[in-house]
């Protein structure tokens, strides 16, 4: 039993209001408060990760105990899978907040920025920890509305346009999700995920729930920017301030998109082969089309945003393969391997994509441009940014010994063992194209020009930004240790078990 669950939501929400009130009186207070809040949350999230392991803990909001084993209150659940996601949210959030201390001097009214940042973190923690469908929707809206505001934070032409696009598509996604929740409630008369699963076990109307599954998949797919729904992502992620881009790309699309899709489709709906094939197809499409859209970009934040779509494709593809195998009931160990690869890549992507966006912010901070053609020769004047972005680029392209290599290797091995040879081949090809586009990024940003041409005015960024980038690059290297069996059993295996075991989630929550 983990007593810390409510703190993940309460502390950032309280922090947001505190910043709004005190920010008027104390100028420097808000930035350090945000970093301290997130450092504390990161520490307790790691504590939770290492204590949770195989056992679920449930927190009943308001102390409403179940009557006759029927849950009536709102449940917050911490298990092996969402403990990992909470760790990612709070760690990347902490580093982005620290990075913002220097970066946000470009903008006015920093206290609004930090208040919105805390609200976004609180919303994401709420989505991930919630065990109740409607509660997921409420927290989703908290985090999404604050992210709309943060995308538009620069209030220039392109920021506002991106935010408007994002709001229209995000609003559409919210309505689809709300309709899906309404349809589920109509049949089952409950909103608790575990209780809904229980109701499904007593009678599952396959055609009715197929429609609901499509609604939910398109709603959360829009939030996760899977390929037919991706139009908002490159605009929104490239227009936001860089620490927010790192949060949106590194964490946000996973926490409110991929996480919820995996949780609902593995632990709530009955796993059917049709939906599993649909999810795998969408993942493959994202992976392939995303990388082809990325390679032609010259605005490097846009390039990174398209790569987010492509890398999320890997995660969806490999969990989809796991889902197909579970639906067929064959080769459970290959299914577990595929899901392991997916979750591993999800963690890795948070580290290296967060780092790449922070690098992009550092370059923009020093040179004032985002166009790759206008920069060059930065390797000498910005050594730390150059070194860390090299690590991140090699990680995302899957070069050993960095983390991206191992997760992609696991995904490809799982695809081959499941006899999806075409998907394995596509994964390799996409990885090579990713390498090509990041070599382009490295060459044009950091080398290319001779020393004479380089502007002597360009200096390395201030300490908080350097610190965040260095810590994330160390994490990038250390995460490859997750491939070692003992460490994998501590972190990844509980998450995989909760997803592959159809009944454990429900029976544990209803039983408590």
């Amino acid at each position: 039993m983990n007593p810390l669950i409510p703190f993940f939501v309460v502390i950032p929400l309280a922090g947001a209001f505190l910043i709004m009130i005190t920010g008027r009186f104390f100028k420097e207070f808000d930035k350090y408060l945000t970093s301290m809040i997130l450092l504390f949350l990161a520490i307790i999230s790691f504590y939770s990760l290492f204590t949770t392991r195989e056992n679920l803990s449930v927190y009943k909001v308001g102390g409403w105990e179940p009557i006759d084993k029927v849950p009536i209150g709102i449940y917050m659940v911490m298990d092996g899978f969402n403990a990992i996601i909470v760790c990612i949210i709070n760690l990347v959030g902490f580093l982005s907040a620290l990075y913002s201390i220097s970066y946000i001097k470009r903008y006015t009214s920093g206290n609004y920025f930090y208040a919105l940042f805390c609200l976004m973190i609180g919303g994401m923690n709420g989505v991930v920890l919630s065990g109740d469908l409607f509660n997921i929707f409420v927290f989703l809206e908290i985090s999404v509305i604050s992210s709309y505001a943060l995308v538009a934070f620069g209030v220039e032409k392109s920021e506002l346009e991106a935010s408007f696009k994002y709001q229209v598509l995000g609003g559409l996604a919210s309505f689809l999700i709300l309709f899906g929740i309404g349809f589920i409630y109509w049949k089952t008369k409950t909103l608790n995920i575990a209780d809904i699963k229980e109701a499904f076990n007593n009678g599952y109307d396959r055609t009715y729930y197929l429609f609901v599954q499509i609604l939910i998949l398109s709603g959360f797919g829009l939030k996760a920017a899977i390929i037919p729904f991706h139009a908002w992502l490159p605009d929104a992620h490239s227009s936001a301030p860089s620490p927010i881009s790192a949060m949106l790309s590194g964490v946000f699309i996973k926490a409110v998109g991929i996480y919820v899709i995996l949780r609902l489709f593995f632990n709530m709906f009955a796993v059917t082969e049709g939906i599993a094939i649909l999810i795998t197809t969408l993942g493959t499409l994202s992976m392939v089309i995303g990388v082809f859209l990325a390679i032609g970009q010259w605005d490097f934040k846009r390039l990174l945003a398209y790569h987010s779509i492509s890398q999320m494709g890997y995660v969806i593809l490999s969990t989809g393969i796991g889902m197909i195998l579970i639906a067929r009931g064959t080769k459970p160990e290959v299914a577990a391997l595929a899901i392991t690869g997916g979750i591993f890549h999800l963690i890795n992507h948070a580290a290296f994509k967060g780092l790449l966006f922070l690098n992009a912010g550092a370059i923009e901070y020093s040179t004032g441009t985002r166009n790759l053609k206008e920069m060059g020769g930065l390797a000498r004047s910005m050594p730390v940014t150059s070194a860390t972005s090299f690590i991140a680029s090699m990680s995302i392209s899957g070069i050993p010994p960095f983390n991206g290599f191992f997760s992609k290797l696991i995904i490809i091995i799982a695809a081959i063992m499941a006899r999806f040879y075409l998907l394995a081949a596509l994964a390799v090809i996409v990885s090579i194209i990713t390498l090509a586009s990041f070599l382009k990024f490295q060459r044009y940003a950091f080398y290319n020009k001779s020393d004479i041409n380089t502007n002597q005015q360009i200096k390395e960024v201030p300490f908080p930004m350097v610190f965040s980038m260095v810590v994330l690059s160390i994490i990038c290297v250390l995460l490859s240790l997750l491939v070692i069996p003992d460490i994998r059993d501590t972190v990844l295996t509980p998450a995989v078990n909760i997803l592959t075991d159809q009944l454990k989630y429900t029976t544990t929550i209803i039983g408590q």
């Binding site: 929707f137 991106a162 709001q167 559409l172 709300l178």
Partner: protein, 112 residues
């Protein structure tokens, strides 16, 4: 049944507006129409024919009550909808100040 179909039609009206309108304000209004169709659907989900407001009356134990939970959900969703609409309007006003127009065809800084 007709109420459910009307609710779906309302959703499609909003969706049509979002796709075809060129004016930012009209897009925001269409979003609100879609939102309201969702709320209407939730209210219909909780409705029971011949049911009364769910205030328990001990004198009459056989009374049929409508489901109160969707009503609570709709109230929450309306508050959230207010926030999204306000946010969208704020961005539209800022867009108007920058571009000097509400026409979405004129607002195309971002491409590719």
């Amino acid at each position: 049944m007709i109420a459910y179909i009307m609710c779906f039609v309302l959703f499609l009206v909003g969706f049509y507006g979002v796709i075809t309108r060129r004016n930012l304000i009209k897009i925001a209004v269409s979003m609100s129409i879609m939102e309201i169709s969702t709320f209407l659907f939730f209210a219909l989900v909780g409705y029971i024919d011949g049911g009364v407001a769910p205030i328990v009356d001990p004198a009459d134990p056989v009374k049929i009550y409508v489901d109160p939970l969707p009503q609570a959900l709709v109230l929450t969703a309306i508050v959230i909808g207010l926030a999204t609409t306000a946010m969208m309007m704020a961005v539209i006003i800022r867009l108007y100040r920058k571009y000097g127009t509400f026409d979405i065809r004129e607002i195309k800084n971002l491409r590719g």
